[in-house]
Symmetry: C2
Subunit: 258 residues, 2 copies
């Protein structure tokens, strides 16, 4: 069965896209068929994989009901990894669909045939830094939510906001099956006391939801997007890449029924 | 006369809030009367100054036309610096005002009496990481736009998006007087080649728009929000604080008519 996992956190710059790209690549390396959907008008997941943000190639027209979503699936050149790219038009879709009925179910409906096809084991949704209509659509369509969070004060402060939103979405019937896949600590710098304090604080509140794997702060992770390839391809021996390989293993082990 | 300066960049985590808080504090230190308006539902500028995000205390009710904005002005305890705090409700204001006429002028209209009072020399608008309706309102209300950008690839890629938006806003009449105050390079780490390449690239395209002052990556800047005080107060001798003092001087020197 296909699992849909949203990668979201309204706090900006916490490593959502870096996690989505590198986790997707590592899961594909481990034999999973993965689809990455770039829902951010900035299109960082698209350019981070070396693909263009062409007009009409994103989920935009499908969200407006004018096209099937599977028409936008691109090959990334990475075995087992496909992408639905973003385009700048996506920034306008929120206002356009806000005026219609059941606007929160748009993504669920256009994803349904892709999920039903069974072509993919995992569909990852890379979200923009907000809790607006696009992200709400992603949370409505997802089975689980992966929350990347950097080890800094503002990110810690924002965590309760998205966790509370998940509770509301489950309780008000928008998506009763939604649960938290896990919390991934990113840009961890073991030399700073603040990073250790934030990790301790998140583990204290969220316990087993926090992945054991900590993603270290790593310059190589910031260099890879400039070459349009995942960090795990750019330098598969750097600390950041090794951490994402480990995260993918931990992610798959969690999938197995208890 | 009162100047309104929006601090915006749709790329997340580039240092908008850190720049808004520390620049505002340094400008106040130099004798300016400053008002900081937190337009981000996350409310990082509010908590970064040690204030609470209370229901009803933000610009939210004023944007809905139910209250005057000046009723929300708080004292920060810092001489010369006042704040209009954020609240989580702000996340809902976009959908609520999207259905009404002239929804892009809401903030301009509620700010007008505050601007006309002449009580403040500078009003800074801290924006969420998006190009949605709240940010559009900020760009419609602003005289100038300050764009913080971190010295990394994705931030560089997103710069043209907001610069093109400014051009559109000027040309389509939403705000013909809007111009770019400047581009502030943040989280600069002189040891990495990528940071130097990004600075060179931005200077090549935007020339004098780029502030001379580079804000270095500095752990002290990440620690200060946990104590609810600006970094320039928390440790006024750290490299980050000294850079913001310099930025404030450069900002004021640019204000003087040529
Ligand atoms: N572990 C890491 N170590 C160092 N830098 C990192 C790491 N992870 C991500 N980065 C860098 O930090 C910046 C923010 O990461 P990224 O863009 O993935 O975050 P995001 O949450 O997707 O941002 P947005 O909120 O804009 O969508 C990028 O420049 C990225 O290259
Ligand atoms: N010069 C700097 N050196 C090191 N860390 C910094 C620096 N400036 C900001 N930070 C840290 O980086 C993170 C992002 O900064 P900040 O929250 O100010 O960005 P933002 O653009 O306002 O984010 P958002 O897009 O979520 O509004 C914060 O944890 C902050 O403490
Ligand atoms: Mg992203
Ligand atoms: Mg901010």
């Amino acid at each position: 069965a296909t699992r849909v996992v949203a990668v979201a956190n309204q706090k900006g710059g916490v490593g959502k896209t870096t996690t989505a790209i590198n986790l997707a690549t590592c899961l594909a390396d481990q034999g999973q068929q993965v689809l990455l959907v770039d829902l951010d008008p900035q299109g960082n997941a698209t350019s981070g994989l070396g693909l263009d943000k062409e007009e009409g190639r994103s989920a935009y027209y499908a969200l407006l009901g004018q096209r099937r979503l599977d028409a936008s699936i691109l090959d990334t050149g990475i075995q087992g990894l496909s992408l639905i790219p973003a385009e700048p038009n996506l920034a306008g879709v929120e206002v356009e669909i806000a005026r219609s009925d059941r606007y929160l179910e748009r993504l669920t409906r256009i994803l349904a045939p892709v999920v039903a096809s069974g072509e993919f084991d995992i569909i990852l949704l890379d979200c923009p830094p907000s809790l607006g209509i696009l992200v709400m659509n992603a949370l409505a369509a997802a089975d689980t939510l992966l929350i990347p969070i950097q080890c800094e004060y503002y990110a810690l402060e924002g965590l309760s906001m998205i966790v509370q939103l998940v509770e509301r979405i489950r309780r008000n019937g928008t998506n009763p099956r939604l649960r938290i896949e896990g919390i991934v600590m990113t840009m961890y710098d073991s030399r700073t006391r603040l990073a250790r304090q934030v990790v301790d604080e998140v583990k204290k509140h969220f316990g087993d939801l926090v992945f054991e794997t900590l993603i270290p702060r790593s310059i190589r992770l910031t260099e890879a997007p400039g070459f349009g390839i995942p960090a795990v391809t750019y330098d598969n021996r750097c600390t950041g890449a090794l951490a994402y390989v480990q995260l993918a293993e931990e992610f798959l082990n969690r999938q197995r029924p208890a």
